[in-house]
């Protein structure tokens, strides 16, 4: 893999991948870095490197979470929760801490689909491949998660939403 392509992938997807891994493990940067290094050594290079990265990060984060649970069984839940998942942004309609807390209360499969689709930019077909389900199931989880978030966060006024897409 060319260094410039790797650099672009790091610049564009490292933060979202870290957010994706942060759902499960407390050291997501290590997982993401290892995933990028595996991508470099991959022969042949995957056709969809972003989806491939998400799959590798998911497997590694789940594995790290299992190891971490064994080690940190007696630690407090607050310590295990870690920092907020989002950066406080001026003009954003949602509070970063509140959104983080709401996302953390979602069922794992719903939260994973929302993070992968909203911040990772993956399609539901790609998410289905990664999670081992069908795309319709992934879409159903996505809508269910959004519904839950809507109830917990409330629906802010649409005029205050900055559009990022």
């Amino acid at each position: 893999m060319a260094p410039d392509l790797l650099g672009r992938l790091v610049d564009k997807h490292a933060a979202a991948l870290t957010l994706y891994a942060r759902q499960w493990c407390t050291a997501p940067e290590d997982v993401v870095q290892e995933a990028f290094l595996k991508l470099v050594a991959q022969r042949p290079s995957p056709e969809q490197p972003v989806a491939w990265l998400y799959k590798v990060v998911r497997n590694a984060a789940l594995s790290a979470a299992r190891s971490s649970q064994r080690r940190q069984r007696h630690e407090s839940e607050a310590a295990a929760r870690g920092p907020a998942w989002f950066v406080p942004t001026e003009g954003a309609g949602l509070d970063a801490e509140t959104a983080t807390a709401a996302l953390q209360t979602l069922p794992a499969e719903q939260r994973e689909v929302i993070v992968a689709h909203l911040w990772g930019g993956l399609t539901f077909e790609q998410i289905a491949v990664i999670t081992g389900t069908s795309s319709s199931t992934a879409h159903r989880w996505y809508l269910a998660g959004l519904s839950t978030l809507r109830e917990r966060l409330g629906v802010p006024c649409p005029k205050t939403f900055p559009t990022r897409k």
Binding site: P3, A41, F86, T89, A92, S147, R150, P156
Partner: protein, 153 residues
């Protein structure tokens, strides 16, 4: 929980969530690029070390064989002697013959000077004429005819 929410609300909620920027990854980008290059180099360069190792092993083996080769051993084999007389014996017989006399040398010199016409005439044979062989093969003639002593009496 209800999943039947209006599309407009879904879009608004998606936009609100997407507006949240994920916490930046605290990755050391330079270190990541360095490790990536290191890993790629390790991955790509296994052929040359293997080839170098094989060649080094072959060179070592040849050097050991050259230094510790066994000394040359000379084996004496009895060769059966041939039954026919050796050529040296024949040559010895030839050498053991009588040396050419002075008359023979004179005759030879005469023939070499004047040609075969200088040969003396053979005596006529009453039954058959002189054979061509007798003319062209003077060494087959009786020595008496050539005037050489020692011929058949």
């Amino acid at each position: 929980m209800s999943e039947n929410i209006p599309d407009a609300e879904v879009t608004q909620l998606e936009a609100a969530l997407a507006a949240l920027a994920p916490r930046p990854a605290s990755l050391d980008r330079d270190r990541l690029m360095f490790l990536a290059g290191q890993r790629a180099a390790v991955r790509r360069g296994w052929v040359l070390p293997c080839a170098a190792a094989v060649l080094a092993a072959a060179a070592t083996l040849l050097a050991v064989l050259l230094l510790y080769q066994p000394p040359t051993r000379i084996v004496y084999v009895d060769v059966p002697q041939p039954q026919s007389p050796a050529p040296s014996a024949v040559a010895q017989d030839v050498d053991a013959g009588q040396p050419p006399s002075g008359e023979y040398i004179l005759l030879r010199n005469r023939i070499l000077t004047a040609g075969v016409d200088a040969l003396p005439r053979l005596p006529p044979d009453p039954s058959s004429g002189p054979t061509p062989n007798a003319i062209f093969r003077p060494h087959m003639l009786p020595r008496d005819d050539l005037g050489i002593p020692g011929g058949p009496q």
